[in-house]
C-alpha cells in the first residue's frame, strides 16, 4: 500500500471532491456533500470516502500528507448570486456612476457569438456596490502621475462617515490613475482606518494601489471590490479548513489554486485571484507533465460536458492574460490564458428551424448527459446521445456504471429530432453530428495556434477531461501535431494539476517608461532605475507573503518579468528578464534584444519597428519556494500485445457509413508498451478513448497514450 502524498480539494456548490495522490501518482477520488457553513465537515467526509477505497483512514494517512491544495467555488458563487459583503466605494467626485455603468463589454461577456451580435440580449447585471454606498472625493492625478488637483482632505471625513453610517462591512478606495501616484488613496485609507478605529467598528479598508496597482480603472476597481465583496468572507472558511486539517494530523501549509497558475497561502494578501482557479488545473498539470517529459510547446485541450477549453504552453511557460473577465466583470488579475468554446459532450444538438442545418450548443445538458439518461428529464438530443447511438459509449459502463444509459431513448430522440427532419439514417445523422463537432473543435484549435503566430507542427497536443479522448483523433486529424498525448489518468487531470502547482506568488505593477530608438545613456539609466525600483517593490511584496509561512529570503527563487512594446502600438508582450538586476546601459540593450526576439517569434521579423521607440509598460515578479509535488508514474515496458485481461470483447460501432467490430479494452489493465490499432475503444470509469480508422496508439512507461495518425 502506497502512502498518501498530496491532497487536492475541489469544493463545488453541491459536492466536495477530494483527490488523494500517492507516491506512485495513483489517486483515489472521494465525494461528499458540500457543507457551505462549515466546509471542513464536507472535506473530512469526502477524505474519508476517498481513503476508504484504499482501506485506510484519515487518522492514518493525513500525517503522511506532504501538501494540500484547495480550490472552491464559494467566492465565485458569492459574486454570481450577489451575496457578498456590503461594500462602500470611494471614487473621484464626479465619477460616482463609473462602477454602476461598468464597461460596455460587461453587458455581453460570457455570451455566445450569436448573442453578442444581437444587441437586444445585452444586459448589465446589478453592480456589486450600489450607487447609494458610493461617495466621491475631490482630487485629480493625470496619467503621468502629476497632481492636477490636490486631495481635498476636508471632504474625506464626511464621505467616509456617510459610508460608516450606512453600515458597510468594507470600504474600497479607487482613484483615477492612482497606480502612478498612490499617495492620495493611501491618505484616504489612513483617515478611514483611524475613523473606524475611533468608532470601534469592524470595517476593512482596501485601497486599489495596495492590491492591484495597474492601469484600467474599471478593471482595477472591480478587482478590488471582488477582493472585499467575495474573497474576504472566505478567509474565515479557509482558516477553519486549515485548522480542521491540522487537528487531523497534517503538517503542511494549506494552499489555494490561484488564477496565475500557482498556488498561494490561505493567508495571502490578495485572495480574489483564487476565484477563477477551477478550469486552469488541467493546464497547470499539463505544464508540470511537459516540464518533466522535456516538451517545450504544448497545446492543451479539455472537453467536458459543457465546453471545450484550450490553452497553450509555449517555451515551457503558460500564457498569461492580464485583463481577464469573470462572472461578467472585467478584472485586473493575471489569469492563465485559455480559450473556451461552448461545445462539449453535453451540448444540445438542434436543427435550425429557419435554415434546416444542424447547430451545436451553446447551451448544454452538462452533467445530465442527455436524453439517453432516463433520469435526466432532458428532451433535446445531445452529442452524448449520438455517441450512444454510434456505439462509442458503452451504455452500461458510463461513469463505471453509475448511470445506466438507454440506447433506445437516444436512438428514438436522434431519429425524431435530427435524422427524420434531414432525411438521413439515424446512424449517419449521429455520425454527422460528431464530425461537425470535431471539425468545429479542429478549426478552433488550429485558428488559436495560428492566431498566436505559431504552427501546430511546433506543438504537442495534450488531451484530457472526460470527453476529450473520445474526440482527440477527430479534432487533431490533419493538423500535423508533433505528438498527441492522452494521459491514461486523463479524467482526474485537473486535480492532478492542482496538486502539481508550484507555491508561487506573482505581483504586477504598471509602468510608463518611454524611450526613443536612440535614447541617451541618462534616459536609459533613469528608466532602468524606475524598473528596478518596481521589481524591488514587488519582490518585497512576494517576500512578505512567504514570510507568513516562515519562508525567508534564501528559500525564495525570484523570476523577474517585464512588459514591453513599441511606442504607440496597442499590445505589449510579457517577457522573462534575462537579467537579475538592472545595473547598466547594457542591461537595457539586453531587454530590448529579448523583446525583439519575442516580437519576431510572435509576429514577424519584418514587423520590427525600432524607429517607434520602446515602452516598458509593466514590471512583474514571480517568487517560488520548493514544495513537494506529485510523482509522475513510471512503469517497466512490456510487450506490444495487450494482456488478455485488458480485452473486454468486441462491440459494433458505426463509423463513416458502416458497422465495424471495435475491440474494447479496459484502460487500467493495459500495460506500458502495449500498442493498439483501429478500431479500438479504451474504456475507463470517467473517460473513453477512441482509436479510429487511420490511427494507432501506444502506451508509454508514464501511462500516457501517444496517438499516431497513419499515412501522414
Amino acid at each position: 500500500m502506497a502512502k498518501a502524498q498530496i491532497l487536492a480539494i475541489d469544493a463545488g456548490g453541491t459536492m466536495t471532491d477530494t483527490f488523494i495522490i500517492d507516491e506512485n501518482g495513483e489517486f483515489v477520488v472521494g465525494k461528499a456533500q458540500t457543507t457551505p457553513n462549515d466546509e471542513h465537515i464536507g472535506l473530512m467526509n469526502s477524505s474519508k470516502d476517498a481513503l476508504d477505497q484504499w482501506n485506510t483512514t484519515v487518522e492514518k494517512e493525513f500525517p503522511n500528507l506532504l501538501a494540500g491544495v484547495y480550490s472552491g467555488t464559494a467566492m465565485l458563487n458569492r459574486l454570481v448570486s450577489r451575496v457578498g459583503l456590503r461594500v462602500g466605494l470611494v471614487l473621484n467626485k464626479g465619477m460616482e456612476d463609473m462602477h454602476r455603468m461598468g464597461r460596455g463589454v460587461q453587458s455581453y461577456l460570457g455570451y455566445s457569438y450569436s448573442d453578442r451580435v444581437h444587441i437586444n440580449t445585452h444586459h448589465f447585471d446589478e453592480p456589486l456596490v450600489p450607487r447609494k454606498w458610493t461617495v466621491g472625493v475631490t482630487e485629480r492625478v493625470d496619467l503621468f502621475g502629476n497632481v492636477v488637483i490636490p486631495l481635498y482632505e476636508h471632504e474625506v471625513e464626511g464621505a467616509i462617515q456617510k459610508l460608516i453610517d450606512q453600515d458597510v462591512e468594507a470600504i474600497v478606495i479607487s482613484l483615477l490613475h492612482s497606480y502612478t501616484y498612490p499617495h492620495h488613496e493611501r491618505k484616504i485609507r489612513d483617515i478611514a482606518e483611524r475613523m473606524i478605529k475611533d468608532q470601534n467598528k469592524n470595517i476593512k479598508v482596501f485601497a486599489t494601489v495596495d492590491y492591484y496597482p495597474v492601469r484600467k480603472e474599471s478593471h482595477r476597481t472591480n478587482t478590488t471590490i471582488v477582493e472585499a465583496y467575495a474573497a474576504e468572507p472566505s478567509r474565515e472558511t479557509l482558516a477553519k479548513l486549515d485548522q480542521a486539517l491540522r487537528e487531523h494530523g497534517t503538517d503542511f501549509n494549506l494552499r489555494i489554486m490561484a488564477s496565475h497558475g500557482g498556488t498561494i497561502s490561505i493567508e495571502a494578501n490578495e485572495l480574489a485571484r483564487t476565484c477563477v482557479s477551477g478550469p486552469i488545473g488541467g493546464m497547470v498539470g499539463a505544464k508540470y507533465l511537459s516540464d518533466n517529459l522535456g516538451i517545450k510547446n504544448v497545446a492543451c485541450s479539455d472537453i467536458g460536458g459543457t465546453s471545450f477549453d484550450i490553452g497553450l504552453i509555449t517555451q515551457g511557460d503558460l500564457d498569461i492574460e492580464s485583463s481577464p473577465d469573470m462572472a461578467r466583470l472585467v478584472l485586473s488579475l493575471p489569469l492563465v490564458s485559455m480559450d473556451t468554446t461552448g461545445a462539449g459532450t453535453g451540448s444540445y444538438v438542434r436543427i435550425d428551424p429557419n435554415y434546416g442545418n444542424i447547430t451545436l450548443g451553446p447551451d448544454s445538458a452538462g452533467s445530465l448527459v442527455g436524453v439517453c439518461n432516463p433520469e435526466s428529464g432532458i428532451e433535446t438530443v445531445t452529442v452524448s446521445d449520438c455517441h450512444v447511438v454510434l456505439g462509442l459509449i458503452n451504455p452500461d459502463n458510463f461513469i463505471g456504471g453509475a448511470i445506466k444509459l438507454s440506447r433506445e431513448k437516444a436512438y428514438q430522440a436522434v431519429k425524431e429530432q435530427i435524422a427524420d427532419p434531414l432525411g438521413m439514417s439515424v446512424e449517419d445523422a449521429a455520425f454527422g453530428v460528431t464530425e461537425l463537432l470535431e471539425s468545429q473543435l479542429r478549426n478552433y484549435l488550429e485558428s488559436m495556434i495560428l492566431g498566436k503566430g505559431y504552427s501546430p507542427s511546433q506543438y504537442a497536443c495534450f488531451s484530457y477531461g472526460g470527453g476529450g479522448p473520445l474526440h482527440t483523433a477527430g479534432y487533431t486529424k490533419g493538423l500535423g501535431f508533433e505528438d498527441i498525448l492522452v494521459p491514461a489518468w486523463a479524467a482526474g487531470f485537473s486535480a492532478f494539476g492542482c496538486g502539481a502547482a508550484d507555491f508561487e506568488y506573482r505581483y504586477d505593477k504598471t509602468l510608463d517608461l518611454h524611450l526613443p530608438e536612440k535614447a541617451s545613456d541618462e534616459e536609459i539609466l533613469a528608466a532602468g532605475k524606475e524598473l528596478q525600483a518596481a521589481w524591488d517593490e514587488l519582490k518585497g511584496h512576494v517576500g512578505e507573503e512567504f514570510k507568513k509561512n516562515d519562508y525567508t529570503g534564501d528559500d525564495v527563487k525570484y523570476r523577474l518579468f517585464y512588459r514591453m512594446q513599441y511606442q504607440g502600438q496597442l499590445n505589449d508582450l510579457e517577457i522573462e528578464a534575462p537579467i537579475s538586476e538592472f545595473k547598466s546601459v547594457n542591461d537595457y540593450y539586453t531587454l530590448v534584444k529579448t523583446f525583439e526576439d519575442m516580437y519576431t517569434r510572435v509576429y514577424a521579423k519584418s514587423a520590427l519597428s525600432p524607429e517607434l521607440g520602446y515602452s516598458i509598460t509593466g514590471a512583474i515578479v514571480r517568487g517560488v519556494v520548493d514544495v513537494p509535488l506529485p510523482k509522475i508514474p513510471k512503469e517497466p515496458l512490456s510487450d506490444e500485445t495487450p494482456p488478455d485481461s485488458a480485452f473486454l470483447g468486441t462491440r459494433p460501432v458505426y463509423w463513416d457509413g458502416e458497422w465495424i467490430q471495435a475491440k474494447i479494452y479496459e484502460m487500467e489493465k493495459l500495460l506500458p508498451g502495449n500498442k493498439l490499432d483501429a478500431l479500438s475503444i479504451i474504456e475507463s470509469t470517467a473517460t473513453t478513448f477512441v482509436v479510429p480508422p487511420g490511427f494507432e496508439t501506444y502506451l508509454d512507461e508514464h501511462r500516457i497514450f501517444h496517438l499516431k495518425e497513419l499515412n501522414q
Binding site: 455566445s112 450569436s114 448573442d115 444581437h118 437586444n120 440580449t121 444586459h123 438542434r350 436543427i351 435550425d352 428551424p353 429557419n354 447547430t359 428532451e379 433535446t380 430522440a413 425524431e416 429530432q417 427532419p421
Partner: protein, 171 residues
C-alpha cells in the same frame, strides 16, 4: 420536435412585460419558435374588447383587422377605426408637432433636443382614446411617413403557411 414552446400565458406575460429578464433572454437566444406568430396573434385577440379578427399587429396599439364585409382596416385597441390598411392611418390621427424650442423642452432637458429648424418631432394620437400611437423625428418639410405596407396574403400563404383568420359567424 422538442423545441421549447411558449403557451398563451407566457406570451401574454411577454406582452405585459412581467417576464423575468432571464426568461426573455432565453427566448431571444433560442431559435424562434415557428408557431410564435399564431400564438401571439391569438394573445392579441384575447386582449382586445372587440371581435374583428386581427390580421396583423401594426404597432403598440394598432392592428389590421378584418371586417365582416371583407374590408381590411386599421383599428386601435380602444375600438377606434382609422382607414383601409393600404392608406396611411396617420392622416386620420390627431397630430402634435414639436417645432419650437419651448415644445422640445417639455420632453427634453435644455440643450439636449434637436434644433427645430432642422428637425421636428411629430406625435400621432388616437382621436378616441388619446393613446400615443407613433412618433417620428423628421426634417420640418418631410412628408408624413407611411411606415408599413404589408402583403398580408403572401405573408399568411407563403411565410406562415397559415389560413387567413375569418370573421366569426354570429349566432
Amino acid at each position: 420536435m422538442s423545441e421549447q414552446k411558449y403557451d398563451h400565458k407566457v406570451i401574454n406575460e411577454l406582452v405585459e412585460g412581467t417576464l423575468e429578464w432571464y426568461q426573455i433572454k432565453n427566448m431571444m437566444s433560442s431559435h424562434k419558435d415557428p408557431e410564435r406568430f399564431k400564438v401571439y396573434r391569438e394573445v392579441m385577440q384575447e386582449r382586445v374588447s372587440w371581435d374583428d379578427p386581427i390580421l396583423l399587429p401594426l404597432g403598440l396599439h394598432l392592428y389590421i383587422v378584418l371586417k365582416e364585409n371583407g374590408e381590411r382596416i386599421v383599428k386601435c385597441d380602444c375600438g377606434h377605426e382609422f382607414c383601409d390598411y393600404k392608406e396611411n392611418w396617420k392622416l386620420y390621427a390627431n397630430i402634435f408637432v414639436r417645432d419650437t424650442e419651448e415644445k422640445m423642452n417639455e420632453v427634453y432637458p435644455v440643450l439636449m433636443a434637436p434644433d427645430p429648424e432642422w428637425q421636428v418631432i411629430r406625435e400621432y394620437y388616437c382621436p378616441s382614446c388619446a393613446a400615443q400611437l407613433e412618433v417620428e423625428a423628421v426634417t420640418p418639410w418631410y412628408p408624413v411617413i407611411h411606415d408599413f405596407e404589408p402583403d398580408i396574403d403572401t405573408f399568411y400563404k407563403d411565410w406562415m403557411n397559415l389560413p387567413l383568420p375569418e370573421v366569426k359567424s354570429k349566432g
